[in-house]
Protein backbone atom coordinates (compact mmCIF):
# COMPACT_ATOMS: atom_id res chain seq x y z
CA UNK A 1 0.00 0.00 0.00
CA UNK A 2 2.93 2.34 0.59
CA UNK A 3 3.50 2.92 -3.06
CA UNK A 4 0.11 4.61 -3.45
CA UNK A 5 1.49 7.83 -1.97
CA UNK A 6 4.24 7.82 -4.58
CA UNK A 7 1.70 7.13 -7.26
CA UNK A 8 -0.38 10.12 -6.27
CA UNK A 9 2.67 12.35 -6.25
CA UNK A 10 3.51 11.18 -9.74
CA UNK A 11 0.01 12.02 -10.92
CA UNK A 12 0.14 15.41 -9.25
CA UNK A 13 3.33 16.32 -11.06
CA UNK A 14 1.81 15.46 -14.39
CA UNK A 15 0.02 18.61 -15.44
CA UNK A 16 0.33 22.13 -14.15
CA UNK A 17 -2.15 24.95 -14.49
CA UNK A 18 -1.47 26.85 -17.73
CA UNK A 19 -2.32 30.17 -16.08
CA UNK A 20 -0.33 30.16 -12.83
CA UNK A 21 2.14 27.39 -13.80
CA UNK A 22 2.27 26.42 -10.15
CA UNK A 23 -0.64 24.32 -9.04
CA UNK A 24 -1.92 21.07 -10.41
CA UNK A 25 -4.55 21.49 -13.13
CA UNK A 26 -8.02 20.46 -12.00
CA UNK A 27 -10.09 20.82 -15.12
CA UNK A 28 -10.08 21.40 -18.83
CA UNK A 29 -12.12 24.44 -19.82
CA UNK A 30 -14.58 23.62 -22.61
CA UNK A 31 -14.52 27.20 -23.89
CA UNK A 32 -10.74 27.45 -24.36
CA UNK A 33 -9.44 23.88 -23.79
CA UNK A 34 -7.03 25.37 -21.23
CA UNK A 35 -5.96 23.20 -18.32
CA UNK A 36 -6.30 25.19 -15.16
CA UNK A 37 -6.15 24.75 -11.41
CA UNK A 38 -9.00 25.24 -9.01
CA UNK A 39 -8.03 28.72 -7.82
CA UNK A 40 -7.45 30.06 -11.34
CA UNK A 41 -10.73 28.47 -12.39
CA UNK A 42 -12.68 30.33 -9.69
CA UNK A 43 -11.01 33.53 -10.80
CA UNK A 44 -11.66 33.24 -14.55
CA UNK A 45 -15.16 31.85 -14.03
CA UNK A 46 -16.23 34.77 -11.82
CA UNK A 47 -14.32 37.36 -13.83
CA UNK A 48 -15.94 36.31 -17.13
CA UNK A 49 -19.40 36.62 -15.62
CA UNK A 50 -18.46 40.02 -14.25
CA UNK A 51 -17.30 41.10 -17.73
CA UNK A 52 -20.58 39.90 -19.28
CA UNK A 53 -22.51 41.90 -16.68
CA UNK A 54 -20.45 45.04 -17.27
CA UNK A 55 -20.31 44.85 -21.07
CA UNK A 56 -24.02 44.27 -21.40
CA UNK A 57 -24.93 46.70 -18.63
CA UNK A 58 -27.17 44.10 -17.05
CA UNK A 59 -27.56 45.99 -13.78
CA UNK A 60 -27.53 49.59 -12.58
CA UNK A 61 -26.44 50.72 -9.11
CA UNK A 62 -29.29 50.76 -6.62
CA UNK A 63 -31.46 48.29 -8.52
CA UNK A 64 -33.48 45.58 -6.82
CA UNK A 65 -32.85 42.26 -8.56
CA UNK A 66 -34.75 39.00 -8.16
CA UNK A 67 -32.84 35.81 -8.86
CA UNK A 68 -35.03 33.01 -10.18
CA UNK A 69 -34.18 30.22 -7.74
CA UNK A 70 -35.18 26.61 -8.26
CA UNK A 71 -32.68 25.04 -5.91
CA UNK A 72 -30.94 23.48 -8.92
CA UNK A 73 -27.29 23.89 -9.90
CA UNK A 74 -27.63 26.92 -12.19
CA UNK A 75 -29.69 29.09 -9.89
CA UNK A 76 -27.65 28.09 -6.85
CA UNK A 77 -24.40 29.07 -8.56
CA UNK A 78 -26.08 32.26 -9.83
CA UNK A 79 -27.11 33.27 -6.31
CA UNK A 80 -23.63 32.49 -4.96
CA UNK A 81 -21.66 34.23 -7.72
CA UNK A 82 -23.90 37.30 -7.97
CA UNK A 83 -23.86 37.97 -4.24
CA UNK A 84 -20.08 37.56 -4.36
CA UNK A 85 -19.65 39.92 -7.36
CA UNK A 86 -22.11 42.40 -5.88
CA UNK A 87 -19.86 42.66 -2.83
CA UNK A 88 -16.54 42.52 -4.63
CA UNK A 89 -17.29 45.05 -7.36
CA UNK A 90 -19.76 47.25 -5.44
CA UNK A 91 -22.65 46.75 -7.87
CA UNK A 92 -24.88 48.30 -5.22
CA UNK A 93 -27.67 45.81 -5.88
CA UNK A 94 -30.37 44.54 -3.55
CA UNK A 95 -30.61 40.85 -4.36
CA UNK A 96 -33.60 38.60 -3.63
CA UNK A 97 -34.31 34.94 -4.23
CA UNK A 98 -37.59 34.25 -6.02
CA UNK A 99 -38.99 30.72 -6.15
CA UNK A 100 -42.09 29.25 -7.66
CA UNK A 101 -43.89 26.47 -5.83
CA UNK A 102 -45.70 24.52 -8.51
CA UNK A 103 -47.17 22.17 -5.94
CA UNK A 104 -45.37 18.97 -6.99
CA UNK A 105 -45.00 16.63 -4.04
CA UNK A 106 -41.66 14.85 -3.86
CA UNK A 107 -40.04 17.28 -6.25
CA UNK A 108 -40.62 20.95 -5.65
CA UNK A 109 -41.17 20.60 -1.92
CA UNK A 110 -37.70 19.04 -1.66
CA UNK A 111 -36.01 21.56 -3.91
CA UNK A 112 -37.62 24.44 -2.00
CA UNK A 113 -35.90 23.15 1.11
CA UNK A 114 -32.61 23.71 -0.75
CA UNK A 115 -33.66 27.27 -1.62
CA UNK A 116 -34.55 27.90 2.02
CA UNK A 117 -31.04 26.79 3.00
CA UNK A 118 -29.59 29.07 0.30
CA UNK A 119 -31.55 31.96 1.83
CA UNK A 120 -29.58 31.49 5.04
CA UNK A 121 -26.25 30.54 3.45
CA UNK A 122 -26.11 33.59 1.16
CA UNK A 123 -28.15 35.96 3.35
CA UNK A 124 -30.59 36.76 0.54
CA UNK A 125 -34.29 37.31 1.35
CA UNK A 126 -36.51 34.65 -0.24
CA UNK A 127 -39.99 35.02 -1.72
CA UNK A 128 -41.98 31.94 -2.73
CA UNK A 129 -45.05 32.28 -4.93
CA UNK A 130 -47.25 29.23 -5.35
CA UNK A 131 -49.54 28.07 -8.13
CA UNK A 132 -52.10 27.29 -5.43
CA UNK A 133 -52.20 30.90 -4.26
CA UNK A 134 -51.99 32.45 -7.71
CA UNK A 135 -54.27 30.12 -9.65
CA UNK A 136 -56.07 28.00 -7.07
CA UNK A 137 -54.53 24.80 -8.43
CA UNK A 138 -51.37 22.83 -7.62
CA UNK A 139 -49.64 20.85 -10.37
CA UNK A 140 -50.54 17.68 -8.47
CA UNK A 141 -54.23 18.63 -8.76
CA UNK A 142 -53.87 19.62 -12.40
CA UNK A 143 -52.20 16.32 -13.28
CA UNK A 144 -54.94 14.44 -11.41
CA UNK A 145 -57.46 16.13 -13.65
CA UNK A 146 -55.75 16.21 -17.05
CA UNK A 147 -53.27 13.35 -16.84
CA UNK A 148 -49.66 13.40 -17.98
CA UNK A 149 -50.22 14.51 -21.53
CA UNK A 150 -50.23 18.31 -21.60
CA UNK A 151 -49.24 19.03 -18.03
CA UNK A 152 -45.96 20.69 -19.04
CA UNK A 153 -47.93 23.26 -21.06
CA UNK A 154 -49.83 24.30 -17.94
CA UNK A 155 -46.72 24.36 -15.83
CA UNK A 156 -44.67 26.37 -18.34
CA UNK A 157 -47.35 28.99 -18.94
CA UNK A 158 -48.11 29.32 -15.24
CA UNK A 159 -44.47 29.55 -14.21
CA UNK A 160 -43.69 32.39 -16.56
CA UNK A 161 -46.48 34.48 -15.08
CA UNK A 162 -45.75 33.36 -11.55
CA UNK A 163 -42.19 34.67 -11.81
CA UNK A 164 -43.47 38.01 -13.10
CA UNK A 165 -46.05 38.22 -10.33
CA UNK A 166 -43.47 37.33 -7.68
CA UNK A 167 -41.08 39.90 -9.11
CA UNK A 168 -43.85 42.52 -8.94
CA UNK A 169 -44.55 41.62 -5.30
CA UNK A 170 -40.85 42.07 -4.50
CA UNK A 171 -40.92 45.38 -6.40
CA UNK A 172 -37.74 44.44 -8.24
CA UNK A 173 -36.41 46.18 -11.33
CA UNK A 174 -35.21 43.05 -13.05
CA UNK A 175 -35.25 39.28 -12.87
CA UNK A 176 -32.03 37.33 -13.45
CA UNK A 177 -32.25 33.65 -14.37
CA UNK A 178 -29.65 30.89 -14.41
CA UNK A 179 -29.99 29.94 -18.09
CA UNK A 180 -26.54 28.81 -19.25
CA UNK A 181 -24.84 28.60 -22.65
CA UNK A 182 -25.89 24.97 -23.13
CA UNK A 183 -29.54 25.85 -22.41
CA UNK A 184 -29.46 28.68 -24.91
CA UNK A 185 -27.80 26.61 -27.65
CA UNK A 186 -30.42 23.96 -27.06
CA UNK A 187 -33.25 26.49 -27.33
CA UNK A 188 -31.80 27.93 -30.56
CA UNK A 189 -31.92 24.44 -32.07
CA UNK A 190 -35.43 23.75 -30.79
CA UNK A 191 -36.76 27.02 -32.15
CA UNK A 192 -35.21 26.30 -35.54
CA UNK A 193 -36.74 22.80 -35.55
CA UNK A 194 -40.13 24.21 -34.58
CA UNK A 195 -39.88 27.07 -37.03
CA UNK A 196 -40.68 29.44 -34.19
CA UNK A 197 -39.24 32.66 -35.56
CA UNK A 198 -40.56 34.86 -32.77
CA UNK A 199 -38.84 32.82 -30.08
CA UNK A 200 -35.70 32.24 -32.15
CA UNK A 201 -35.05 35.95 -32.35
CA UNK A 202 -35.73 36.40 -28.65
CA UNK A 203 -33.98 33.41 -27.14
CA UNK A 204 -30.40 34.58 -27.65
CA UNK A 205 -30.97 38.06 -26.20
CA UNK A 206 -29.20 38.51 -22.93
CA UNK A 207 -31.96 40.88 -21.80
CA UNK A 208 -35.60 40.29 -22.74
CA UNK A 209 -38.92 41.91 -21.91
CA UNK A 210 -37.55 45.42 -21.66
CA UNK A 211 -40.85 46.77 -22.91
CA UNK A 212 -42.77 44.69 -20.37
CA UNK A 213 -43.17 45.21 -16.64
CA UNK A 214 -40.12 43.26 -15.53
CA UNK A 215 -37.12 42.73 -17.82
CA UNK A 216 -35.25 39.44 -17.52
CA UNK A 217 -31.55 38.84 -17.97
CA UNK A 218 -29.22 35.87 -18.29
CA UNK A 219 -25.79 36.53 -16.75
CA UNK A 220 -24.77 32.92 -17.59
CA UNK A 221 -25.48 33.29 -21.30
CA UNK A 222 -21.86 32.43 -22.16
CA UNK A 223 -21.19 30.14 -19.21
CA UNK A 224 -20.81 26.43 -19.91
CA UNK A 225 -22.89 23.98 -17.93
CA UNK A 226 -19.79 21.90 -17.30
CA UNK A 227 -18.10 24.83 -15.57
CA UNK A 228 -21.19 25.63 -13.51
CA UNK A 229 -21.34 22.06 -12.27
CA UNK A 230 -17.58 21.94 -11.62
CA UNK A 231 -17.77 25.22 -9.75
CA UNK A 232 -20.65 23.97 -7.60
CA UNK A 233 -18.78 20.73 -6.98
CA UNK A 234 -15.43 22.30 -6.04
CA UNK A 235 -17.10 24.90 -3.83
CA UNK A 236 -19.37 22.24 -2.32
CA UNK A 237 -22.44 24.35 -3.03
CA UNK A 238 -25.70 22.92 -1.81
CA UNK A 239 -28.01 22.18 -4.75
CA UNK A 240 -30.84 19.86 -5.61
CA UNK A 241 -30.86 17.61 -8.64
CA UNK A 242 -33.86 15.53 -9.48
CA UNK A 243 -35.85 15.43 -12.68
CA UNK A 244 -39.43 16.65 -12.34
CA UNK A 245 -41.67 13.63 -11.71
CA UNK A 246 -44.20 14.77 -14.30
CA UNK A 247 -41.86 15.75 -17.08
CA UNK A 248 -41.29 13.35 -19.96
CA UNK A 249 -39.13 16.11 -21.42
CA UNK A 250 -38.86 14.18 -24.66
CA UNK A 251 -38.40 16.81 -27.32
CA UNK A 252 -36.04 19.04 -25.37
CA UNK A 253 -34.24 15.91 -24.24
CA UNK A 254 -33.25 15.06 -27.83
CA UNK A 255 -31.90 18.54 -28.45
CA UNK A 256 -30.02 18.41 -25.15
CA UNK A 257 -28.43 15.10 -25.99
CA UNK A 258 -27.46 16.33 -29.44
CA UNK A 259 -25.80 19.43 -27.93
CA UNK A 260 -23.87 17.25 -25.49
CA UNK A 261 -22.73 14.96 -28.30
CA UNK A 262 -21.54 18.00 -30.26
CA UNK A 263 -19.76 19.37 -27.21
CA UNK A 264 -17.78 16.17 -26.84
CA UNK A 265 -16.49 16.45 -30.39
CA UNK A 266 -15.98 20.20 -30.34
CA UNK A 267 -16.79 22.16 -27.18
CA UNK A 268 -16.84 25.48 -29.05
CA UNK A 269 -19.95 24.26 -30.90
CA UNK A 270 -22.12 25.55 -28.06
CA UNK A 271 -20.91 29.13 -28.44
CA UNK A 272 -21.07 28.79 -32.22
CA UNK A 273 -24.74 27.80 -32.11
CA UNK A 274 -25.53 30.79 -29.90
CA UNK A 275 -23.69 33.00 -32.41
CA UNK A 276 -25.69 31.48 -35.28
CA UNK A 277 -28.89 32.14 -33.36
CA UNK A 278 -27.86 35.76 -32.86
CA UNK A 279 -27.03 36.18 -36.52
CA UNK A 280 -30.31 34.77 -37.78
CA UNK A 281 -31.94 37.64 -39.60
CA UNK A 282 -35.67 37.87 -39.46
CA UNK A 283 -37.01 39.57 -42.55
CA UNK A 284 -38.89 42.72 -41.66
CA UNK A 285 -41.88 41.63 -43.77
CA UNK A 286 -42.47 38.60 -41.49
CA UNK A 287 -45.61 39.24 -39.48
CA UNK A 288 -44.81 38.97 -35.80
CA UNK A 289 -47.58 38.46 -33.22
CA UNK A 290 -48.69 41.78 -31.78
CA UNK A 291 -48.32 42.29 -28.06
CA UNK A 292 -51.38 43.47 -26.19
CA UNK A 293 -52.76 42.82 -22.74
CA UNK A 294 -55.10 40.15 -21.45
CA UNK A 295 -58.66 41.46 -21.01
CA UNK A 296 -59.08 39.39 -17.89
CA UNK A 297 -55.89 39.72 -15.86
CA UNK A 298 -53.95 42.45 -17.62
CA UNK A 299 -50.90 40.29 -18.33
CA UNK A 300 -49.10 40.72 -21.66
CA UNK A 301 -50.86 38.71 -24.37
CA UNK A 302 -51.11 38.65 -28.15
CA UNK A 303 -54.66 37.34 -27.83
CA UNK A 304 -57.83 38.54 -26.11
CA UNK A 305 -57.06 36.41 -23.07
CA UNK A 306 -53.59 35.38 -22.05
CA UNK A 307 -52.65 31.73 -22.21
CA UNK A 308 -52.79 31.27 -18.44
CA UNK A 309 -56.35 32.62 -18.25
CA UNK A 310 -57.48 30.35 -21.08
CA UNK A 311 -55.91 27.31 -19.42
CA UNK A 312 -57.32 28.30 -16.05
CA UNK A 313 -60.82 28.79 -17.46
CA UNK A 314 -60.59 25.27 -18.90
CA UNK A 315 -59.55 23.81 -15.56
CA UNK A 316 -62.25 25.63 -13.62
CA UNK A 317 -64.98 24.70 -16.11
CA UNK A 318 -63.88 21.11 -16.21
CA UNK A 319 -62.76 21.42 -19.83
CA UNK A 320 -59.00 21.02 -19.46
CA UNK A 321 -58.52 20.64 -23.24
CA UNK A 322 -59.39 24.31 -23.62
CA UNK A 323 -56.36 26.19 -24.80
CA UNK A 324 -54.41 23.05 -25.63
CA UNK A 325 -53.64 22.85 -29.30
CA UNK A 326 -55.72 24.91 -31.66
CA UNK A 327 -57.36 27.93 -30.12
CA UNK A 328 -61.01 27.20 -29.61
CA UNK A 329 -63.85 28.88 -27.74
CA UNK A 330 -62.46 31.80 -25.85
CA UNK A 331 -60.24 33.50 -28.31
CA UNK A 332 -62.17 32.49 -31.42
CA UNK A 333 -63.28 35.97 -32.47
CA UNK A 334 -60.43 36.04 -34.91
CA UNK A 335 -60.97 32.52 -36.22
CA UNK A 336 -60.64 33.65 -39.82
CA UNK A 337 -57.26 35.12 -39.18
CA UNK A 338 -55.33 31.88 -39.25
CA UNK A 339 -52.02 33.66 -38.91
CA UNK A 340 -52.92 34.56 -35.35
CA UNK A 341 -52.85 30.96 -34.19
CA UNK A 342 -49.07 31.04 -34.46
CA UNK A 343 -48.62 31.71 -30.78
CA UNK A 344 -50.78 28.82 -29.64
CA UNK A 345 -49.37 26.29 -32.05
CA UNK A 346 -45.89 26.70 -30.69
CA UNK A 347 -47.08 26.27 -27.13
CA UNK A 348 -48.82 23.07 -28.13
CA UNK A 349 -45.57 21.43 -29.12
CA UNK A 350 -43.58 22.87 -26.28
CA UNK A 351 -42.71 20.06 -23.95
CA UNK A 352 -41.40 21.03 -20.59
CA UNK A 353 -41.49 24.64 -19.52
CA UNK A 354 -38.54 24.50 -17.16
CA UNK A 355 -36.69 26.82 -19.48
CA UNK A 356 -38.84 29.80 -20.30
CA UNK A 357 -37.34 32.17 -22.77
Amino acid sequence: MEESADGKAKKAGARLCCLCHQKKAALKRPKTLEQICRECFYEVFEEEIHQVIVENQLFKPGERIALGASGGKDSTVLAYVLSELNRRHNYGLDLFLLSVDEGITGYRDDSLETVKRNEIQYGLPLKIVSYKDLYGWTMDEIVKMIGLKNNCTFCGVFRRQALDRGAALLKVDKLATGHNADDIAETVLLNILRGDIARLSRCTSIVTGEDGPIPRCKPFKYTYEKEIVMYAYFKRLDYFSTECIYSPNAYRGFAREFIKDLERIRPRAILDIIKSGENFRISTSTKMPEQGTCERCGYISSQKWCKACVLLEGLNRGLPKLGIGRTRGLNNDDKKDTKKTNGTKSIESKQCGTLDF
Partner: protein, 114 residues
Protein backbone atom coordinates in the same frame (compact mmCIF):
# COMPACT_ATOMS: atom_id res chain seq x y z
CA UNK B 1 -12.29 -10.31 12.82
CA UNK B 2 -11.55 -13.71 11.43
CA UNK B 3 -13.75 -12.99 8.47
CA UNK B 4 -11.96 -9.70 7.91
CA UNK B 5 -8.57 -11.40 7.89
CA UNK B 6 -9.84 -14.00 5.48
CA UNK B 7 -11.32 -11.38 3.16
CA UNK B 8 -8.22 -9.24 3.22
CA UNK B 9 -6.07 -12.26 2.46
CA UNK B 10 -8.23 -13.25 -0.47
CA UNK B 11 -8.33 -9.73 -1.81
CA UNK B 12 -4.67 -9.05 -1.49
CA UNK B 13 -3.56 -9.38 -5.06
CA UNK B 14 -6.73 -9.16 -7.07
CA UNK B 15 -8.68 -6.28 -5.52
CA UNK B 16 -8.42 -2.55 -5.52
CA UNK B 17 -10.16 -0.40 -2.94
CA UNK B 18 -11.81 2.65 -4.47
CA UNK B 19 -14.36 5.23 -3.50
CA UNK B 20 -16.98 5.85 -6.16
CA UNK B 21 -19.27 8.81 -5.74
CA UNK B 22 -22.37 9.78 -7.71
CA UNK B 23 -23.89 13.25 -7.85
CA UNK B 24 -26.18 15.54 -9.80
CA UNK B 25 -28.97 12.97 -9.79
CA UNK B 26 -26.91 9.93 -10.87
CA UNK B 27 -27.24 8.54 -7.34
CA UNK B 28 -30.88 7.83 -8.20
CA UNK B 29 -29.63 5.06 -10.47
CA UNK B 30 -28.01 3.30 -7.49
CA UNK B 31 -30.77 3.28 -4.88
CA UNK B 32 -30.02 6.93 -4.02
CA UNK B 33 -26.67 5.98 -2.46
CA UNK B 34 -24.10 8.66 -3.23
CA UNK B 35 -20.87 7.24 -1.84
CA UNK B 36 -19.79 3.67 -2.46
CA UNK B 37 -16.66 2.18 -0.94
CA UNK B 38 -15.88 -0.66 -3.27
CA UNK B 39 -13.39 -3.43 -3.94
CA UNK B 40 -12.92 -3.85 -7.64
CA UNK B 41 -11.40 -7.15 -8.69
CA UNK B 42 -8.75 -6.90 -11.35
CA UNK B 43 -9.18 -9.14 -14.35
CA UNK B 44 -7.01 -12.22 -13.98
CA UNK B 45 -3.60 -11.44 -15.38
CA UNK B 46 -4.31 -7.71 -15.60
CA UNK B 47 -1.66 -5.46 -14.08
CA UNK B 48 -3.70 -2.31 -13.80
CA UNK B 49 -7.20 -0.99 -13.61
CA UNK B 50 -8.32 1.73 -16.02
CA UNK B 51 -11.40 3.92 -15.99
CA UNK B 52 -12.69 1.82 -18.86
CA UNK B 53 -12.56 -1.28 -16.64
CA UNK B 54 -14.11 0.59 -13.74
CA UNK B 55 -17.01 1.84 -15.85
CA UNK B 56 -17.97 -1.62 -16.97
CA UNK B 57 -17.62 -2.84 -13.37
CA UNK B 58 -19.91 -0.02 -12.17
CA UNK B 59 -22.45 -0.79 -14.81
CA UNK B 60 -22.65 -4.41 -13.67
CA UNK B 61 -22.29 -3.92 -9.94
CA UNK B 62 -23.59 -0.51 -8.88
CA UNK B 63 -26.15 0.72 -11.38
CA UNK B 64 -29.58 -0.63 -10.52
CA UNK B 65 -31.72 1.07 -13.12
CA UNK B 66 -31.65 3.01 -16.40
CA UNK B 67 -27.95 2.43 -17.21
CA UNK B 68 -28.46 4.50 -20.36
CA UNK B 69 -28.63 7.59 -18.12
CA UNK B 70 -25.06 6.88 -17.05
CA UNK B 71 -23.35 5.31 -20.03
CA UNK B 72 -23.40 5.49 -23.78
CA UNK B 73 -21.34 2.82 -25.53
CA UNK B 74 -18.31 2.03 -23.40
CA UNK B 75 -17.97 5.50 -21.90
CA UNK B 76 -20.06 7.86 -19.79
CA UNK B 77 -22.98 9.53 -21.45
CA UNK B 78 -22.14 13.00 -22.79
CA UNK B 79 -23.10 15.47 -20.06
CA UNK B 80 -21.78 13.26 -17.26
CA UNK B 81 -18.60 14.68 -15.69
CA UNK B 82 -15.97 12.38 -14.25
CA UNK B 83 -13.23 13.33 -11.78
CA UNK B 84 -10.41 11.19 -10.45
CA UNK B 85 -9.11 12.50 -7.12
CA UNK B 86 -10.92 15.77 -7.80
CA UNK B 87 -9.27 16.18 -11.18
CA UNK B 88 -11.27 16.35 -14.43
CA UNK B 89 -10.72 13.03 -16.21
CA UNK B 90 -10.27 14.91 -19.48
CA UNK B 91 -6.83 15.80 -18.11
CA UNK B 92 -5.82 12.26 -17.23
CA UNK B 93 -6.73 10.43 -20.40
CA UNK B 94 -10.45 9.71 -19.86
CA UNK B 95 -11.04 5.98 -20.42
CA UNK B 96 -7.30 5.26 -20.33
CA UNK B 97 -6.81 6.85 -16.91
CA UNK B 98 -5.02 4.32 -14.69
CA UNK B 99 -6.51 3.97 -11.24
CA UNK B 100 -4.62 3.35 -8.05
CA UNK B 101 -5.49 2.02 -4.63
CA UNK B 102 -7.72 4.41 -2.64
CA UNK B 103 -8.47 6.66 -5.59
CA UNK B 104 -11.71 8.62 -5.40
CA UNK B 105 -13.75 8.62 -8.58
CA UNK B 106 -16.67 11.04 -8.86
CA UNK B 107 -19.40 11.11 -11.50
CA UNK B 108 -21.74 14.09 -11.73
CA UNK B 109 -24.61 14.47 -14.14
CA UNK B 110 -25.12 17.92 -15.61
CA UNK B 111 -28.37 16.87 -17.19
CA UNK B 112 -30.82 17.37 -14.34
CA UNK B 113 -32.84 20.57 -13.96
CA UNK B 114 -31.49 24.05 -13.40
Amino acid sequence: MLLFLLVSKLCRFSDMKLTVEFGGGLELLCNSVKIHNVNVELQSGAEKLTMKDLLSWIRTNLIKERPEMFMKGDTVRPGVLALVNDCDWELSGQLDTTLEEKDVVVFISTLHGG
